[in-house]
């Protein structure tokens, strides 16, 4: 099994380790719920070094990414970040990723761990037509420091000035790359550092009061924030238009991979949508539970779980477009239980957004 450079630190801290797509990763260090609350109320950190960092450089780096990605790379300022999907020719989602613009000819892309091989293969195939090249940065570690106290806790420990760093922007020096991004719905940063510097930085963060958090808390935090998880909330068999990612598609100049398929779908009619759900009674919503309303509309929960911040069972689900909000029910074991459709996110900046 693959290990990140922080593997020893996790084991020494008493982490419960699991096989996460071939990586030996911490699921929690004791209580997942305590870790979740640390990020919502204070500051926590995650080792996400299993994710893949790819630098794209060359005179046509921008043209390449404009072709590859369904969002608009050309609207980025220097050091700005962009969330986008990468689509196949049928409009299905190959992956979702963050791209940072370093300069007009240089970009940094961070893709999911579980999709690494197919992403690299797709990049390689698509980049051939452009005067650009890619470099996988495989000797780096990524630490996400997240929570309302993230910036003030981190600032004294590093040389970069974070006071002017806006959300969804990055700053960097020779050894550290800091993006004010994350996957929790809280303020925070993602730090990309050389592997050899990671363990010392992790230790300094612990000493500064940052709580190590496992991938379990990362999942409940991102679900509360209404953020998609690749492989659950979308994959190659669904388009962004059907799973709540239409907002990431650029409106102008539709010459990206998958654009034609999306246009055909728009003309034929989009029959599915992504919704937020709250269980009215007691229980827990889970991935793959089915939904039905009194008119026969159906749906399936793509991500579900217990929300520590709202103390409710919440879920994201892909449903038939006409799903009746007043009669939607979830099948849990042998029971049908009423649910409520709510706007995403469930939690923003530490506060529940679910209306009573």
């Amino acid at each position: 099994m693959k290990k990140t450079v922080l593997n020893d630190a996790h084991r020494k801290a008493g982490a419960k380790m699991v096989d996460f797509g071939g990586w030996d990763m911490p699921i929690n260090y004791g209580s997942q719920i305590e870790e979740h609350h640390a990020v919502r109320q204070h500051v926590g950190m995650f080792d996400v070094s299993h994710m893949t960092v790819i630098d794209i450089q060359g005179p046509e780096a921008t043209e390449f990414l404009y072709h590859l990605l369904a969002n608009d790379i050309t609207k980025l300022n220097i050091n700005q970040a962009l969330y986008s999907t990468m689509l196949n020719h049928e409009g299905g989602v190959i992956d979702d990723l963050i791209t940072y613009k370093i300069s007009d000819t240089s970009y940094r892309v961070v893709v999911n761990a579980g999709t690494r091989e197919k992403d690299l293969a797709w990049f390689e195939k698509e980049i051939a037509e452009f005067d650009a090249f890619m470099i996988e940065q495989d000797d780096t570690a990524i630490i996400a420091v997240q929570g309302p106290k993230a910036i003030e806790t981190l600032q004294p420990l590093i040389d970069l000035d974070l006071s002017e760093l806006k959300r969804f922007y990055a700053t960097h020096n020779e050894i550290m790359f800091v993006g004010r991004t994350g996957y929790t719905g809280e303020d925070g940063v993602e730090l990309i550092v050389p592997s050899e510097a990671a363990a010392a930085l992790w230790q300094k963060l612990i000493e500064a009061g940052v709580k190590p958090c496992g991938l379990g808390a990362r999942d409940t935090l991102r679900l509360e924030a209404g953020m998609h998880l690749y492989g659950q909330d979308m994959d190659e068999n669904i388009t962004p238009l059907e799973c709540g990612l239409g907002w990431t598609l650029r409106k102008e100049n539709q010459e990206f991979n998958g654009a034609e398929a999306l246009q055909a779908l728009r003309e034929a009619g989009i029959n599915k949508k992504l919704i937020g759900l709250v269980l009215e009674g007691r229980g827990v919503l889970r991935h793959d539970q089915t939904l039905i309303d009194d008119e026969g509309h159906q749906g399936i929960i793509t991500s579900g779980g217990y929300s520590p911040s709202t103390e409710k069972a919440i879920a994201m689900a892909v449903v038939d477009k006409g799903m009746n909000a007043d009669s939607v029910q979830v099948q849990i074991r042998n029971k049908k239980l009423p649910c409520r459709i709510v706007k995403l996110p469930f939690v923003r900046n530490g506060k529940s957004m679910i209306e009573d």
Partner: protein
């Protein structure tokens, strides 16, 4: 090593049983089981006065990670349920052998007790997983 009290009986599916006398047994899940599940957030209790066959599903314990069925360890009828778990399911994490008990049942046949594990047998059965 998980704590496995000597005075209880166990099942391979990680339930414990405490003999309350007169054929009534109190049932919960072990410390090992709660640690495996992680933070427990919901418990579906069996119905009072309901009868179950051995190994019938009679409830569910759900953690942040997963849902896990609870099985009736013996043939019998439910005589008490731990209502406190409805609002405070984390009692199972905090006190699996005491405040986190789940239900009590009156068993139909003492002969069924032979199928249960001793503390030592149960310790051996989980030794490989720890």
């Amino acid at each position: 090593m998980s704590y496995v009290p000597d005075n209880l009986k166990y099942t391979a599916s990680h339930e414990w049983l405490e003999d309350l006398g007169e054929g009534v047994y109190r049932v919960g899940i072990t410390e090992f089981a709660q640690a495996q599940l992680g933070d427990i957030v919901f418990v579906e209790l069996p119905e009072m006065d309901e009868s179950y066959a051995q190994e019938d599903e009679c409830g569910v314990v759900e953690s942040v990670k997963t849902a896990s069925d609870i099985y009736a360890p013996l043939v019998g009828t439910i005589t008490a349920i731990n209502d406190a778990l409805e609002d405070t399911p984390e009692l199972i994490n905090d006190s699996p052998f005491d405040d986190g008990w789940i239900f009590e049942m009156k068993i139909d046949d003492d002969a069924d007790l032979g199928s249960l594990l001793s503390a030592e047998d149960y310790r051996n059965s989980i030794a490989d997983e720890e």
